[in-house]
Symmetry: C2
Subunit: 202 residues, 2 copies
């Protein structure tokens, strides 16, 4: 697509670098901004720039945070004896939105993936070990809440090996048929596991 304006072209090129946004969508968004008042664009660019410049990561759990320690780690009403290990900050948000968890978190910052060259050293595994071995705050349980993929399982096995000699309970999120899911359309591994890992009806 050709553009009559270099300014439009530059803006489209930048917007189209965002994930899931093609050049047609980028053009639509850019033309929308041109049509709106200038302060709308300024509000957008300032919010993005402010975010990127000022964002920090919690020194304890490594989740995205405005301060040096996140609101979850700072909250004395949370259960600091349970640590839920997740891949990314967005997983923390997803679990927080369920309102089912009152413990604290540990964000690995990725997942072990030999293909992408990501090993334990690229993740916050050492920080997790330090949190558990330093007895300042007694941790009783570690929940491994990783994606049920090859990489997620690899990471979970690795963490289990590192953690198994500590006097803590190591658990994993339940796998099975999702609520609202149809047995007919569930894949064989999920359905098979949901039968072998059946639970008492309550």
């Amino acid at each position: 697509m050709e553009f009559p304006s270099k300014l439009i072209e530059d803006a489209v090129n930048e917007v189209a670098k965002l994930p899931g946004i093609g050049r047609k969508t980028a053009l639509r968004l850019v033309l929308h901004l041109v049509k709106e008042k200038e302060d709308k664009t300024t509000a957008l660019t300032e919010a993005l720039q402010r975010l990127r410049t000022n964002i920090r990561f919690c020194a304890t759990c490594h989740t995205i945070s405005d301060e040096s320690e996140c609101t979850i780690c700072r909250n004395p009403r949370r259960d600091h004896s349970i640590v839920c290990v997740v891949e990314e900050s967005k997983d923390v948000m997803a679990i927080e939105n369920t309102s089912q968890y009152t413990g604290i978190y540990h964000v690995l910052g990725g997942i072990i993936s030999p293909i992408q060259g990501i090993g334990p050293a690229e993740l916050t595994v050492d920080s997790l070990m330090t949190r558990i071995s330093s007895g300042s705050k007694e941790i009783r349980e570690v929940i491994l809440a990783l994606s049920p993929t090859m990489e997620g399982d690899t990471t979970a096995f690795y963490l289990h090996r590192r953690l198994k000699d500590f006097p803590i309970k190591i658990t994993s999120i339940a796998r099975g048929i999702p609520t609202g899911g149809d047995l007919e359309y569930a894949d064989e591994i999920t359905l098979g596991r949901s039968i072998t890992a059946r639970v008492l009806f309550s």
Copy 2:
């Protein structure tokens, strides 16, 4: 959805104001920027801000332009005797991409819509009349390239009434079955018109 960070929340709120972008997509885009290096975000925000601050509209045809006159109006090799009237700058880009048109344009900046309170005074109709009545550049033909909707037809009829006393040819883009379209799925008005407005086979 709750966010652990005010910075994230502000950025998501701004991004979600863009058309077709919901809060989930906004969060995905924002977290992508946080993961990337800061200069990526700076490149994006600067391109958008530079666009919005510096963008101008061609003094002649009102299309989006980097200069006071657009590259199309300035081009002496274009046919300045044919003016194609369109609703928005994006229509100019769409027609330019066909490489089938060598004339110049006139961007109305909208379409007559009594429901939205947009009348001829809100559009660049007077500027079009000035272009045609000032004999400095002889205009021989005006092509009405408006959307085949109620508003588009209303605007076309209005412009035809204003233009019909000038010694110019007034044409309209062809309507019919789109290339690759299936007769079976064409709506009745389109199919009916494509029969009454049939053309010699060539």
